[in-house]
Symmetry: C2
């Protein structure tokens, strides 16, 4: 503001000095500093030392730039997740794979914002991860599952990972934006009179429904455990049985009895 008087006008950039790659690079740099949500075209212009409108020659809409960023994000994500070392058994492989996906998204929020939140598992994303997915599913088939069982299993793992990651991310976003403010309602009290069980659980440090490590592992275990049972059953040449309490949970794609909700 004090500099306003000596306002230095940035010299005009030369002709070939700007290109899409550099713009995307800069966009990622900036997003890492201010988060994807706060990334604006004017800011990006300043960051690149370019007139704002110059960016629009390469990307006609901000959306186009974000799409380009998403492509890059998918590539990066693939390099993080790809080298999933084959463990001794399929189970440990799949578990590690799931954990790798999760921790990659958690430690690189921009990837999460672009891939999961902004473009929400778009067909485009599915295509880019196809080779990965193929490999995992091949592993499961080799371990003894039918193709359908393998797809179901991996779908369940993906849904679980993506869900837990996105919820965690949304929670973090929300938390940082309301920190400093009056926190919207200071402290919550779980009264032991009306809700004794919750109060007791709270005292023991149990946390209901949070997308944390414990709940993540719990859900993952449930999926893997069932898969193991499927494999064991098929190995025993019983098409499907379930030792205890598998009656109502057929892995088959049948018209469900009372499935609700649209689509």
């Amino acid at each position: 503001m004090a500099k306003r008087a000596t306002a230095e006008k940035r010299p005009r950039r030369e002709r070939g000095s700007l290109n899409p790659e550099d713009i995307i690079d800069g966009a990622f740099e900036l997003a890492e500093q201010v988060s994807l949500d706060n990334l604006s075209m004017p800011m990006l212009g300043k960051h690149l030392d370019v007139g704002v409108t110059s960016i629009y020659w390469y990307f006609r809409k901000k959306d186009d730039l974000l799409n380009a960023m998403t492509d890059r994000a998918l590539e990066r994500y693939a390099t993080f997740v790809s080298p999933f070392v084959q463990a001794r058994d399929w189970r440990e492989s799949l578990r590690r794979h799931a954990r790798t996906m999760r921790s990659t998204f958690l430690t690189h929020p921009i990837l999460c914002d672009l891939i999961l939140i902004r473009s929400a598992l778009s067909p485009r994303a599915a295509q880019m991860g196809a080779k990965q997915t193929e490999k995992v599913i091949a592993n499961l088939v080799e371990a003894g599952l039918t193709l359908e069982q393998a797809v179901d299993t991996y779908s369940a793992v993906q849904l679980h990972v993506h869900g837990a990651v996105v919820l965690q991310r949304l929670y973090d976003k929300n938390k940082e934006s309301e920190s400093g403010a009056t926190a919207y309602y200071e402290n919550l009290t779980i009264s032991p009179e009306t809700t004794p069980l919750l109060a007791e659980a709270g005292a023991k440090g149990l946390h209901s429904g949070a997308p944390d490590d414990h709940n993540f592992e719990y859900g993952l275990d449930r999926i893997l455990e069932y898969t193991e049972r499927l494999i064991a059953d098929r190995a025993a040449h019983k098409p499907r049985a379930g030792k205890s309490a598998t009656k109502t949970s057929a892995p088959r794609r049948e018209p469900k009895d009372t499935t609700p909700a649209r689509r």
Copy 2:
């Protein structure tokens, strides 16, 4: 625009003609028409036939208004989810409860946007749903689970429901915003040469990782099934056993072997 010449100036509103409740009502009406993301203060002013700035007398920031809306959303959500009729067994009760939560969010996207996406399972939300949660957990304890097992079970259900709902919602949002546009990359081809299994699965109509009915029910089944096993084991007074392949998946809160990720 043709009316610009005859520009009619809205008469000044009387004194008591505006109040927080009406503003929130109007905000919900408007959000239902244009979605929460497109809800703006100027639009809301017009919708209420009020000067924009008048709203700021009752809500000093847009965020405050959204918080008030969230409180209302939580109340509404509770009325939708509350009358969950006790089914014959705990299992059917919990399954229905999960489905009700999901379909409520899916048919009322604004509730999802406010409760799950914007304020992401805030402590505040947890407090409002406390009585509900208490009841469900009490049911599970009565069915034979320990408190810890009950909390774990319900946590898993909540994480599953919230994750599936949010992913679905994000997908829908993304889809409607890119419809009309060139769809960012026309059609995806899953080549049978590089990914034969996926191609075969695709031909059979299998869909990997989508938060749809099938994958939702699959994950839900995995959780309920394990819960049933826990109950059966405890009924047989074996502290925990697991007929087949429960070895690595202890329901206990132990220091996990190689748990990754922060927090």
